[in-house]
Amino acid sequence: MCNQKQKWQTEFLKTALLLVVVFGSLFLLQNPAQAQSQTTDNNTTVFPLRTHQPVYQNPFDLASGGASLTRATQEGAFFLNPSLPAYGYNLHRWAFFRTQLHLDNATSQSAAEAYANQTSENPITPELIQNALQSPVHVGHDTALGYVTSYFSLVGFSNVRADIAVRRYGDAGAPQVRARAYGVGGGGISTSYALAQFISLGVASKYVEVVQAADNISIEDVQNPDGLSQKLTSLLKRGKGVSTDAALTLQLRSKHLDLRVAGSVHDIGNTDLGADLEPYRQTVGAGVGLTIHGRDNSFHCAADLRDVLAAYEEHWTFRAYSGCKLTFYRSVSFGAGVSQGYPTGGVVLNLGFTRLEAGTYTREVGTQVGVEGRTVYFFALGVEY
């Protein structure tokens, strides 16, 4: 018994070394030019729409600090660590549908007005702009549905984000409206396999269609809402491509304690989206998680560092996530953490086939963490089996 345990630990150590060699090779083979972003004009402050973050994240994972490489919720595993479903006992895991609304804390009124005006020719009203002068307008809507088993997953998804903020002092001193809108949708398949009781591999491939628009809009255009709407429409760019991710998770498991270490590669080889859009850059993620659990309750804490090689040239504070989840009788879960330097929190209620999620997180939209965080409140409704 003792020898078997020793042998098992030695195998784990060898595998960890293999992990270091594999990812170290990836680092050495990384084309240095890939880490060079398009040259940024120091006077250009149109912030990047695409960062290291995945195209879709489960909101409760976000509210729990966003450290999801070692333990993700339902569809979250597909986008962050496709090797996770291999751990567990049942073939069937989840069939789910989920929709969620994200609102900045000062946006609800603006969002209601924008929604009321969406059927008109010009959704950009003077009232919307006046609200944006007081505080940024940030709104998002996500939808996901799929089927997850221990060997494969099928997922469809869409998410839309819009952010309108007025900068009191723009590039030339005059106020500017910074408007950004981003939408992505698609579907994909993943497969996961447990090589041994402590190591699993996973690969996910997804088709994505992207629409985005971003610009700093002058104060003249702001005072002409018709022209503003037309200008935003003219800025729309579209693209599509196939994105492939791979991941590996190591797990040490005992009766009440699990330790996981995970590594992932996203957008392997960069995901080309066509001529109009910048490609999704290949990123490497690393995470560690510890779970204390009984039969029905668990307490999980984790920390992730995404885009370890800084392919998007973001400071590490943008890419660091940590947090904990506490689950009671698989029915109620609480999550809290720190995501991009901001606190997060959320709660989940599993009511049979229905899942309700609510919480808050903050997303940094500025060039430095702590400068311009958007505190988002979300509510999600899901059906699952």
Binding site: F27, N42, Q130, Y169, Q176, E220, Q223, V261, Q368
Partner: protein, 236 residues
């Protein structure tokens, strides 16, 4: 037998941490400083006008042809004088077109002290030093606002002082009126008050610019009790 489990775990995590530490990420590096222009923008929001000015002055010494930075530099003076384009924009949107921009600007001007006039004069001069070919619509709009603000503040100062204008003051005022009118036309800003002032000065009795201006100022004092006309209520 001694368990090697804790040692294996610790060694694995240490190796992983060593790998992470060997990568491009340097945890000890502070966040990359933003560009001087971005830092200046943040300082302006915090109303640290002098600090923003120092940053931009250093940046412009290396990049003298950067029109946007030059306009931002001019904004540091206007901001310190209390002339805020964002407030003007808010009032303009609120007015729903009920008043011209120059009328609304009158309602948000600071006190016509010598210090404020000197600051807004400097803002006007800095933005006028940007070549026309390098100006975008924002810079032209700012030039209009700063010229108009200088004009109104100078007139108010002269009205309140009750002293006749010097030849230099008269030339400066009349030049400012013409500049403000031209810039307003370029940027499409409604400027009824500027056009009215330009016409009234031109038609005022007198042989010289300072006589015309003096008579115009006397007329303003008689009509408004020594201050510029109040902005109509629906423009506020």
């Amino acid at each position: 037998m001694r368990s090697k489990s804790p040692r294996a775990i610790c060694l694995s995590l240490t190796l992983l941490a060593a790998f992470v530490a060997s990568c491009a990420t340097n945890f000890l590096e502070p966040q990359a400083p933003s560009s001087p222009v971005e830092e200046a923008q943040l300082l302006l929001v915090q109303e640290k006008f002098a600090d923003a000015r120092a940053l931009l002055e250093a940046f412009l010494s290396q990049n003298p042809n950067d029109a946007k930075a030059g306009a931002l530099f001019a904004t540091t003076f206007a901001g310190e004088a209390g002339v805020s384009i964002i407030v003007l924009t808010e009032r303009t949107l609120n007015s729903g077109g009920g008043a011209g921009e120059d009328e609304i600007l009158q309602s948000i001007l600071p006190d016509a002290t010598d210090a404020n006039i000197a600051l807004i004069r400097r803002a006007k001069e800095e933005i006028e030093s940007i070549p026309e070919a390098a100006r975008n619509s924002d810079i032209t709009f700012e030039a209009t606002i700063y010229s108009t603000a200088f004009l109104f503040l100078s007139l108010e100062n002269l009205v309140n002082s009750a002293a006749p204008p010097t030849p230099e003051q008269a030339r400066e005022i009349i030049k400012s009126v013409a500049q403000a009118s031209e810039l307003a036309e370029q940027s499409g800003v409604p400027a009824e008050q500027i056009e009215k002032a330009q016409a009234e000065i031109a038609n005022a009795p007198g042989d010289t610019d300072e006589e015309k201006l003096d008579n115009y100022l006397d007329k303003l004092r008689e009509e408004n009790g020594g201050v510029l006309p109040e902005v109509p209520a629906d423009a506020q």
